[in-house]
């Protein structure tokens, strides 16, 4: 396991062998104020107020993210980080991704529960379901997709798996290949391969988002499938929407990594920022496979 002893590790030109603890930092308190402003603004807006505070909060957060990461990148470039520090970042990113997995798990759980239990019970299946059905909605027949016995949102058609979603699956899977190819390039010191692979990944991410926008447009305009289309619309748009948000974040991260790659920030030995971005991208990819199977296909 990791040892904290200062003098047991080999020297490396790029690193220090001491654990770096910054003396103080203004970024976290700016982050807290920004988050508070964003949340206060968001709540005010939901209550029918204006969006000024929300925008101020958002600007503060963006400013903080730039500033905080700039500080960290400078420190890293100066060689202040030891291998042990690198491992802390790895644990941090790994567990952050795990927390994201659990966030999606809540929505997948909602999908499974409603499909397996709630909807069949509304249709009269099992003893206690039968009572609900006969008392409240005697004519409701359980089926999936559904917008429920009250026909919330009106008649709609579900999204087919084998159109745009299937193309999007191919795009994301390909982006998993290109980013791995980029990583090989980086590790083997083939700069052109690294940059091309990374640029291709960002482009595939953008293409995915473009097609998803098209898909949403089709859903709203042609299928009458909206966020308000009962439980099917709720689970469909919340799951794919949060995934799309994560693709957006992932693509922005990769674009920043591309710029840093162009600036020559990474060496074949030290490039955790790239790896963290790649981990995140693979996570987004795997979530999509879950979506394709359980939301679109089955």
């Amino acid at each position: 396991m990791a040892h904290a002893h200062a003098h047991t590790q080999d020297h490396n030109d790029h690193t220090t062998d001491h654990y770096y603890v910054p003396h103080q930092s203004y970024w976290p308190i700016i982050a807290s104020i920004g988050l508070f402003t964003l949340m206060f603004g968001g709540a005010t807006m939901l209550n029918g107020g204006g969006g000024t505070l929300l925008l101020v909060g958002l600007s503060l957060i963006v400013f903080m993210i730039f500033g905080w990461f700039r500080t960290v990148i400078h420190e890293s470039q100066k060689g202040l980080y030891s291998d042990q520090m690198d491992r802390s970042f790895r644990w941090g990113m790994g567990w952050f991704i795990f927390s994201e997995v659990m966030f999606f798990a809540a929505f997948f759980g909602a999908l499974f529960y409603t499909r397996q239990y709630a909807v069949p019970w509304l249709g009269g299946e099992t003893a206690h379901g039968a009572l609900t059905q006969s008392m409240l909605w005697p004519r409701y027949e359980a089926a999936w997709p559904t917008n429920g016995p009250a026909d919330i949102g009106g008649f709609f058609a579900p999204m087919h798996a084998w159109g745009l979603p299937a193309i999007n699956t191919l795009i994301l899977l390909s982006s998993g290949v290109t980013i791995t190819w980029a990583h090989w390039g980086l590790v083997e010191g083939k700069r052109a391969q690294f940059l091309k692979g990374l640029a291709a990944t960002v482009a595939l991410g953008a293409l995915f988002l473009g097609l998803q926008a098209l898909e949403y447009h089709e859903a709203y305009q042609e299928l009458n499938l909206t966020l308000g289309s009962g439980i099917y619309g709720s689970t469909f748009f919340m799951l794919t929407g949060f995934h799309g948000l994560h693709v957006t974040i992932g693509a922005i991260i990769l674009a920043v990594i591309l710029l840093r790659g162009l600036a020559g920030h990474f060496t074949p030995e030290r490039h955790f920022a790239f790896e963290a971005a790649a981990w995140y991208w693979h996570f987004v990819d795997v979530v999509w496979l879950g979506l394709f199977i359980f939301v679109y296909w089955m």
């Binding site: 103080q24 976290p28 509304l122 919330i152 909206t226 439980i231 709720s234």
Partner: protein
């Protein structure tokens, strides 16, 4: 290029023993684990008194039947906010404060693994509670649907609603970052020779707690996000008319909620496992079994959630599964209790204040555990559900459980943190008033619940009067006794008899090898653990 050869912690602007920044800015921009630990602990103490004040409003209203002091809507705001403040503002941050102060010192690390993120984790909390408590002063008042936020009731909340949801999101962000920091610190910053099975039990319990936090706080975030979209964006997650189900919320919430109660008790187990060996002057009995028991409890916490909702109409197979799984938890918990008792067996015991609180913890937490076992029995739960018996149960595990462990921890480590001994006489008086008060407060609530008094009501039938009166007297006794604790803490920070490095005769572990108070930076060069 800085390839620092000397064991320096800092960038070149600051020397080896850089002290804190001057003035109040120190606390806003600090990255020091001791500073941040202090901030967490003081914040928690503040919230403990705010949440306590809400509790006293509740108990004052319940002193007699009828409505005397507050209207029912305000009463409901008090029950809701008392719980939210105590769970997220008092108990959880207190344990994070202990983690900040103690983990690096216990494992021989220079600080927490991610010091800047540590600052952010803390400073989100005061802002989140500003967001939450500001709703009390808006039209319509604060949230009043209970801390469990069940729909459809909670969707009737007025302007407070988005504030509550977004405050919960902020608290989640804070907890997740704090937990990531704890895990990275424990897994990556241990001194040479500090193998996993040599770690103090407090470190072990926090490692497991941090895992629980990262696993379930995002699930709570998902649950409250669904509430938000159901109210404002037309989704039907909890609307049966749209094919959703209000019961779905309960499943998702308690998938978070049950591990959450272990998040509030596992670090308490860790504290007690540090204190009892010290004052029994014996090593902890069954160290390895304590680690395995803690892990088992954490695992089981993920498969018992529906025992909070036996009466919603689950299939029989579900009720049986959750009933048996819940009862299984008694096994590892029993291992722990027996280990503590065995540690004390034939020990050279002394009864300083931390030990008194620790012993009271073992006895009173066990009472809470037994009532939990009663509640786990599904057919019996049909009777207990939503009565004061449930209130009595979880307050026994949380107050003479978690909170007593926090009191014990404060008295135990305060001399280390401040360099001064607290007033032992006053500590003992505080203990006896607390232990008597807490039992007068919560024990009669068992009888009230078994006799059928529902929870979360401002008024009740006449036959419940006597026990409610007794309970309220206990509440005020317990509540005001805590002022003694506050006074003792403040006096200890200001001065007092100088504490030795080891502080307690029987204390062992790296933190006791440091001076009292420890210097601003400790273990800048890692010690070697034999």
């Amino acid at each position: 290029m800085n390839t620092a050869a000397a064991p320096t912690l800092d960038d070149h602007d600051h020397g080896h023993h850089a002290g804190p920044s001057p003035g109040l800015m120190r606390w806003l921009v600090t990255t020091n684990h001791k500073d941040i630990g202090t901030l967490y602990l003081l914040f928690s103490l503040t919230m403990f008194f705010i949440g306590g004040a809400f509790a006293l409003v509740i108990r004052a209203e319940l002193f007699q039947p009828g409505l005397q002091i507050v209207n029912p809507h305000f009463f409901n705001q008090m029950t809701t906010l008392h719980a939210l403040v105590m769970v997220f503002g008092a108990v959880m941050p207190a344990f994070v404060g202990l983690a900040n102060w103690l983990l690096p010192m216990m494992i021989g690390a220079p600080d927490m693994a991610l010091p800047r993120m540590n600052n952010w984790s803390f400073w989100i909390m005061p802002f989140a509670f500003t967001l939450l408590l500001s709703t009390l002063f808006t039209s319509g008042g604060g949230p009043a649907g209970g801390w469990t936020l069940y729909p459809p009731l909670v969707l009737q909340t007025g302007d407070a609603f988005p504030f509550v949801i977004l405050a919960v999101h902020m608290l989640g962000v804070s907890s997740i970052m704090g937990a990531i920091n704890v895990i990275a610190t424990i897994l990556n910053l241990r001194a040479p020779g500090m193998t996993l099975m040599k770690m103090p039990l407090f470190v072990w319990t926090w490692l497991i707690t941090a895992f629980l936090l990262i696993a379930v706080m995002p699930v709570l975030a998902g649950a409250v996000t669904m509430l938000l979209t159901d109210k404002y964006f037309g989704t039907s997650f909890f609307n049966a008319g749209g094919g959703g189900d209000p019961v779905l919320f309960q499943h998702v919430f308690w998938f978070f909620g049950h591990p959450e109660v272990y998040i509030m008790i596992l670090p308490a187990f860790g504290v007690i496992s540090q204190i009892i060996p010290t004052f029994a002057r014996k090593p902890l009995f069954g160290y390895a079994s304590m680690v395995y028991a803690t892990s088992s409890i954490a695992f089981l916490s993920f498969i018992v959630w529906a025992h909070h909702m036996f009466t919603v109409g689950m299939p029989l197979a579900g009720q049986l599964f959750f009933m048996y799984a819940t009862m299984l938890i008694a096994v590892p918990t029993g291992v722990k209790v027996f280990n503590w008792v065995s540690t004390m067996w034939r020990g050279a015991m002394t009864f300083e204040t931390p030990m008194l609180f620790a012993i009271a913890f073992v006895i009173l937490f066990t009472i809470g555990g037994f009532s939990g076992l009663m509640l786990a029995i599904a057919p019996a739960d049909f009777q207990y559900q939503d009565t004061y018996f449930v209130v009595a149960h979880f307050h026994y595990v949380l107050v003479p459980g978690s909170v007593f462990s926090l009191m014990a921890a404060a008295y135990y480590w305060l001399p280390k943190w401040t360099g001064h001994m607290y007033n032992e006489q006053m500590g003992k008086i505080h203990f006896w008033l607390s232990v008597v008060g807490v039992n007068i407060l919560f024990f009669p609530q068992h009888f009230l619940g078994l006799a059928g008094m529902p929870r979360r009501i401002p008024d009740y039938a006449l036959q419940f009067t006597e026990f409610n009166m007794i309970s309220t007297v206990g509440a005020f006794l317990f509540g005001f006794s805590q002022l003694l604790f506050l006074y003792n803490v403040i006096q200890t920070i200001r001065g007092g008899v100088k504490a030795t490095d080891q502080v307690w005769e029987g204390a062992h572990g790296l933190e006791w090898t440091l001076p009292s108070p420890p210097p601003y930076h400790t273990f800048t060069t890692a010690p070697v653990v034999k």
